[in-house]
Symmetry: C2
């Protein structure tokens, strides 16, 4: 059976030592009173909830899955509904929501920390409340006052949950092809008809109502993505008292049998003249949906971080416990029949890869979350704009890089277990199956790569990228007098230089042939991902070095571990950038030469 | 629903154009009469059997799994038993077995081709007869005449199947720890007691008898790997007529719930004073078992090749069919609402990666199989020795490199499908789950890497490696006058030089610190894997170039495709070697620095 301990020490390191969130958040008036102790106590409580309530459901949920009944209702696995009720009762859904609608008004950053832990507990369970947060974000940004009043308090409290209904059988990435129709009605509402697929948490028994945000076309809408509008379609139309009233014509036609996240109901949703209300402007539904999508992409990164963390914990425990063979340099556990496998260099490679990816992903995603708070609430517009640019640049990196690494991490965790990892009992193979979807949904990782290179980097002639580059240059300059930091600062500065050169090259080639951007995109995302991770590992190494000098006795093992992991990352993982630069530079020809019939 | 077409054209290309097997096999007296037409017709028949009988069972088997009943019997999925009976009736189990025991005496090479296709059909089904072949190999090499007479005809005909019983709960890699005991009996047999786990095909309803080859310790055996003996333990002890007689005390205690290969029964096997007979010499069981293991490692490579081939076929069909977005360089299918996704460079990257890995793996594994035939049956001892050295060097590369690539390939195939790949219906997620075990069983890929670098390369001071290097050098020299080949010959020669340099460096470091070999092993295996693939892609490119000149009209698309795939491989995949050389060269320190408590 797997186990999970909330990684509070590392979370606190990132929050308080790396990001210094208390002073950072104090710049924002609404968080002026928020102190370290409060943040930590919220996170500790959340950790307890995850360990005690959510985590024990994960394997049960995987085995039981969801069941759809003849009347279209869906039952979630044993314990899911009760746990969700406890979650609502404890007020967790309201954590970072607007106090005007009953929220607790804490930073997104705190919510991200909680989401990491919840996903370590159970990704499939966490998707139910997770999707509500997306619906909340779209409504608060684009809903009419009446819609906000009707829906937001219920979403904030968690009494109702939300979904995103985008995909149809013939269109996932290419939403311009979608066919669901919305006919205006005399009362200002719309009659919506169509079939959506792959709707996570689309139907279930955990909440009193389900609020679907649906993309559909008005009768006179232009073709393609410029003719898509967004509608709110509740399962039960709220009555005069705001309670779930008439059952709407939005039903679950079937649920999918999937590789993983069995405990989340992935539904075919049939809309048969369902009553809906428009959110945002006509034909601007994609813009409204992107509010949800950006949050969702960060959310998917948090899913893979959570899975990679718990998989790492379990493979580490196994590697310390499992006795097999002797160390190549002589027996280490002489009193035992063999050494624990953690003595073997290749097992350490697998563990350290996970550790280096997990801890950098934590630093990176928390940093992005902090910048979302700055973007939304900082009093200085320049700070807001700068934060918005960085968040926009790096959101596809969070999604693409962390989910690819998360899959590799969980795969390595399983490999540490050997044959014992392949069987259900030890829990780690589920993490691989669950992690696999994260590379696909909320925009495949190809879409993330194209978004990064095409829209975020080449789209503004590298201006956003330069903002991130400036941070790196500032950091590197700051290490000038610190000899022990040169092992990090030099390769970091060199990689930044290579990225700038490569970006220019790709930009020039892409002007002549747009396929060049498509061909370079995936290697480019991995290069930028490593640039980001190298930056955070260097920053963490600096803190560790400083702490080691300041307080030689204080938690020395923790800082030694940070430094060793940073060195491992620079020695063993960062060199992937050389490969990816070669691959990016090789250009489009090797991909486009072959005729379709020749495959 | 997935589909499968035996890749006969590419199989024939490898057999007849790359390996020129008819003349190659004619050097071996027993194959002097074997011609191309015979080989092709056997393979075509096998392809039909796979498409019509085995492939349709694969998804059914995954869903149904195996069931263990209260009496310890195990039922395989619907259709499995019938298909196996057809397999036996058609004589397939006897294909490459010794005619003295009823075999058809065809080369191992032909068997390997058939195994590739069977694994494309269903890895889980193919494991039942596949394991028999291993038991056959161990018995024919080490069995007494009486044991051979009692068991081989039945294994050859397929009436009985075999297993390998090595693993115990506390020992997988480290067989020196095994505890199963064998007590000598007055009649010359042994009474065997212990519990084995992870026994594939350990109990089932497909054959009349199951022949277990069991590792156990004699009462006076020395500790560790030098005290292990091998025993044959039949489920039913053959009676005087050679028919299954008395039920032996070897039973299935439970079956595992696994990530994949659901349709193969992975059993806990309880031996409660089961009657067994020794195979080979006392305390030399591991040597005897390695006869099976080496064959099994090639077999695991064929499993991943088979899975990668069928996954590629299905993702390719999907990529040609699925319409989504327009090509970056302008619409290609103007009459359709969007272009097929195969127009997009990143989709092509995913398809070409699969294609390049599959076709090189086919060339490589067939070449190794041919060398197994040369090793076993060539009249010239020097040829036999040379072939044996190459097979021994490259067996861990077949196992480690092809299974890692196979997992990546199936993962990419799934990614091409997007969300549709994550659901069971399209079949591709099963390939990922099935492919995952291949990196673990028959020696984890860490064990393969250590075997390659430690035993096969450093163990003989690079002599075997030099034999393979000589082949490459000969090939490179042969390209001197062919300008179009320089794009392949130059990087190939350069990589060989880098490998030689790196090997020397690692050897020197490992003499001072054995952890250096452990630290370098996994990157080293990937480097050697690429050296092998680069060699075969260069050879295939040369053939394609020659054919294009000789007969411009003859199957031009096939050779153009080979050349384009070779160029893709050199441009986009081979550069991984730079990364792996960096990682290998970074040495042991970044792995060993961190104390166990610091993880």
């Amino acid at each position: 059976m797997p186990s999970y301990v909330p990684p509070l020490r590392d979370i606190q390191f990132v929050l308080h030592e790396l990001l210094e969130v208390e002073p950072a958040l104090k710049q924002i008036p609404r968080y002026a009173d928020l102190d370290t102790a409060t943040i930590d106590s919220v996170i500790e409580e959340a950790g307890k909830f995850v360990s005690q309530v959510v985590f024990p459901l994960n394997q049960v949920g995987d085995r039981a899955g969801c069941a759809r009944h003849d009347d279209g209702s869906v039952t979630t696995p044993p314990g899911f509904k009760t746990a969700y009720q406890q979650f609502v009762d404890a007020g967790w859904p309201a954590l970072s929501s607007d106090p005007d609608y009953g929220g607790q008004g804490l930073p997104e950053l705190v919510n991200s920390v909680v989401m990491e832990m919840l996903n370590s507990g159970s990704q499939a369970w966490t998707m139910y409340p997770g999707l509500s947060h997306g619906a909340y974000a779209a409504l608060i940004a684009h809903g009419t006052p009446a819609l906000k009043q009707a829906y937001l308090p219920k979403l904030v409290s968690g009494e109702w949950t939300g979904t995103m209904c985008l995909t149809e059988a013939h269109c996932g990435t290419d939403l311009g092809l979608l066919k669901t129709r919305a006919e205006p009605q005399a009362d200002g509402s719309y009659s919506i008809t169509g079939t959506k697929i792959f709707i996570s948490a689309g139907e279930h028994d955990m909440s009193d109502n389900i609020v679907h945000l649906v993309l559909a076309r008005l009768p006179d809408a232009p073709a393609g993505t410029k003719g898509i509008s967004m509608f709110i379609v509740p399962k039960f139309v709220p009555d005069g008292d705001g309670k779930p009233g008439r059952r709407n014509a939005v039903t679950c036609g079937s649920i999918e049998h999937k590789m993983g996240i069995h405990a989340n109901a992935t539904c075919v949703i049939n809309l048969d003249g369902a009553q809906g209300w428009m959110v945002g402007e006509p034909n601007r539904g994609l813009n409204a949906m992107f509010v949800m999508m950006n949050g969702a992409r960060l959310g998917v990164g948090m899913q893979s971080l959570g899975l990679a963390e718990v998989a790492y914990q379990n493979s580490l425990a196994y590697a310390k416990d499992r006795l097999q063979m002797r160390s190549l340099s002589g027996p280490k556990a002489k009193d035992k029949p063999a050494d624990p496998i953690i003595v073997h260099p290749d097992v350490r490679r697998m563990l350290l890869t996970q550790k280096a990816y997990v801890e950098a992903a934590r630093a990176f995603t928390y940093w992005v979350s902090l910048h979302i708070d700055l973007e939304h609430h900082h009093p200085d517009e320049k700070v807001r704009k700068n934060a918005a640019d960085l968040v926009s640049l790096l959101t596809p990196v969070v999604k693409g890089f962390i989910t690819d690494n998360g899959y590799e991490s969980t795969t390595l965790a399983m490999q540490v277990f050997g044959g014992h990892g392949y069987i259900w009992e030890n829990g780690v193979e589920q993490y691989v199956r669950d992690a696999r979807i994260n590379m696909i949904y909320e925009g495949t990782n190809t879409v993330q790569a194209l978004d990064l290179l095409g829209r975020k980097v080449l789209g503004d002639m590298g201006a956003r990228l330069m903002k991130f580059g400036t941070l790196i240059q500032g950091f590197v300059k700051h290490q000038a007098g610190v000899p022990a930091m040169q092992a990090f600062a030099e390769p970091l500065a060199r990689l930044l230089g290579e990225v700038q050169k490569l970006t220019l090259e790709i930009g020039q080639k892409a002007m002549k042939n747009p396929e060049e951007a498509g061909a370079a995109a995936t290697p480019y995302l991995r290069i930028i991902g490593h640039l980001v991770f190298a930056y955070f590992w260097a920053r963490m190494a600096r803190i560790a070095l400083d702490r080691q000098q300041q307080e030689p006795a204080a938690d020395d093992a923790f800082y030694a571990s940070k430094l060793a992991t940073a060195r491992f990352y620079y020695a063993k993982l960062l060199p992937e950038t050389g490969f990816q630069i070669d691959a990016a530079r090789a250009g489009a020809a090797p991909l486009m030469e072959l005729q379709t019939a020749g495959f």
